[in-house]
Amino acid sequence: MKVVDTLLKIFFWTVMVLIYVPIAVMVAFSFNASRSKVVFEGFSLENYISLFSNERVWGSFYNSIWTALIVVVVSLILGILMAYGVTRYRPRGSTILDSLIMVPIIIPEIVEAVTLALFLSIVGIPLSPFTIIIGHVAFDAPLAYLILKARFQGWNREYEEAAMTLGADEIRTFVKVTIPLMMPAVLAAAFLTFIWSYDDFIKTFFTRPTGFDTLPVYIWTRVARGRVELDINALSTIIVLVAMIFTYLRMKLEEKQSTI
């Protein structure tokens, strides 16, 4: 048993290290003095300087963030309403309804992207940031639904019933009791939908108006032209750093909450 445990440990940490090799190399080369992506020729901050003067990077980064934020808000609203409706009121045929809502999660993204692009073109809806957002919502609302539904099913209704017995009406109970109880699942859903939307390339690529780049689309156009310079590495390094700080703070916060 001891041997197996040790092997398991070695295996686990080897894989973890391997996961980080590409990331580490990417970070290291963001400081490369030369333009080579395979040979390191000395430390320099040149890539960071050229990054900060590249307006297209920041424009597309900004587009990614604001579209993703709207996607998260809309998806959460729709997801909460659907999850609440399906689990609480159990309408007739709710199992079929439940499967229908989850179909977009199972259908491959490239299929969703091309069918949506075709549809928009046939109906004559011009491409705009709105079409990107609605395309993302069509995937993210079911994703939020999936996470929130699990939460709704998991808790008993006693708290809500107590609130109602004590004289709160249904809307008040929903706002004061149900929503606070949902918060952990809502945060998890917000996190996942944001990551998905912010990182999405395929759907955005097919539903964006020309000239409107999100960060993944901008990076792709550079990859397609073979023009990936190290400023992209610099940007990724900054993103990893920010993500690290955020996640660390969140973890600290959660630890604090769980000790109370």
Partner: protein, 313 residues
């Protein structure tokens, strides 16, 4: 004025009262925004594409404008064209191969990892490890794949390491090989297998495993008879989460696979990007529908022979 406002208020409160009492109305209010959004921006486009692939939507000139007309005579022209074009069968086989390899590879790596995380780490370490696993996902997918491309470069880390170890004599380029595509795919899809399996293994009651030992089962037998069956819903969920998108993956084949790998996702992508007009659309739709059909068949077979309990979260 005041009387009018009073009227509106009383009307609204009567309406609110009705909604509060009527269960069916409440259900509709809760469900309709989401369902309508999905119907219009997911299901309808899918149906339109399906009709197009069967040549059931045709564009006709009426006066000065073009309109789309539903034709009730489906034909298989585009499907025949799709299946008889020379690259198709190779594409489909390649997609199935990539997706199967990725699913099996991620499963073999994920299960021991999930087992270790769930049984050998305390709560604090678990959180830290989950943080480490999630962190790379903040880096854009295309950048991550591109970063791997440089590792595979003849002067990159993989080649120089192999040379230093004496495994190869000179620098080798791994870019453009199937191995490069497969390694990158396993790398990229690992988390989609790992998380659902971990979610299930973490909830396994450890007393069950101890009971098996106490009753004299060997570690191997405990794994096969107790742990694996309990982890099955997570394994099934992970397999679907990996297999379905892996089959349509085209960014990895483009970036590290060179021109040689041409799975079905790339076929659909190119059809829409490079071929303009209704021909390209209809052919692309047919390819997309074939892809969905293959997934439905694969999922059905999987459910049939492996099991259908799925636990996603």
């Amino acid at each position: 004025m005041a009387a009018g406002a009073d009227g509106v208020v009383s009307l609204l409160s009567r309406l609110a009262d009705r909604i509060r009492r009527d269960r069916r109305l409440k259900t509709i209010l809760f469900l309709s925004p989401g369902l309508i959004t999905l119907a219009v921006f997911f299901f309808l486009p899918f149906v339109v594409s399906l009709l197009l692939s069967f040549d059931m939507l045709v564009r006709e000139r009426v006066g000065n404008t073009f309109v789309w007309i539903l034709s009730l005579q489906p034909n298989l022209e585009y499907y025949i064209k799709f299946f008889t074009s020379p690259g198709t069968s190779v594409s489909i086989m390649q997609s199935l191969y990539y997706a199967s390899f990725t699913t099996i590879g991620t499963l073999l790596i994920s299960f021991p990892m999930a087992y270790y995380m769930a049984f050998k780490l305390d709560r604090r370490r678990k959180n830290f490890v989950l943080f480490l696993i999630f962190l790379p996902f903040w880096v854009n997918f295309i950048i991550r794949v591109y970063a791997i491309r440089f590792l595979f470069h003849p002067d990159g880390i993989v080649s120089t390491t192999l040379m230093a170890l004496g495994i190869t004599d000179g620098p080798i380029s791994i870019i453009g090989t199937d191995a490069a595509v497969l390694i990158t795919m396993v790398y990229s899809y690992l988390i989609f297998m790992l998380l659902p399996i971990y979610g299930v293994v973490e909830k396994i009651n450890k007393e069950l495993i101890e009971a098996a030992y106490t009753l004299g089962a060997t570690p191997f037998k405990t794994l096969v008879k107790v742990t694996l069956p309990l982890a099955k819903p997570g394994i099934i969920a992970g397999s679907l989460l990996v297999f379905i998108p892996a089959m349509g993956e085209f960014i990895i084949p483009i970036i590290v696979g060179g021109g040689k790998s041409y799975p079905i996702g790339r076929l659909i992508f190119d059809q829409f990007i490079k071929v303009s007009g209704i021909q390209g659309w209809a052919l692309g739709s047919a390819a997309a529908m074939v892809y969905v059909g293959l997934i439905v068949i694969a999922t059905y077979l999987y459910f049939r022979f492996v099991g259908r309990e799925v636990t996603l979260i």
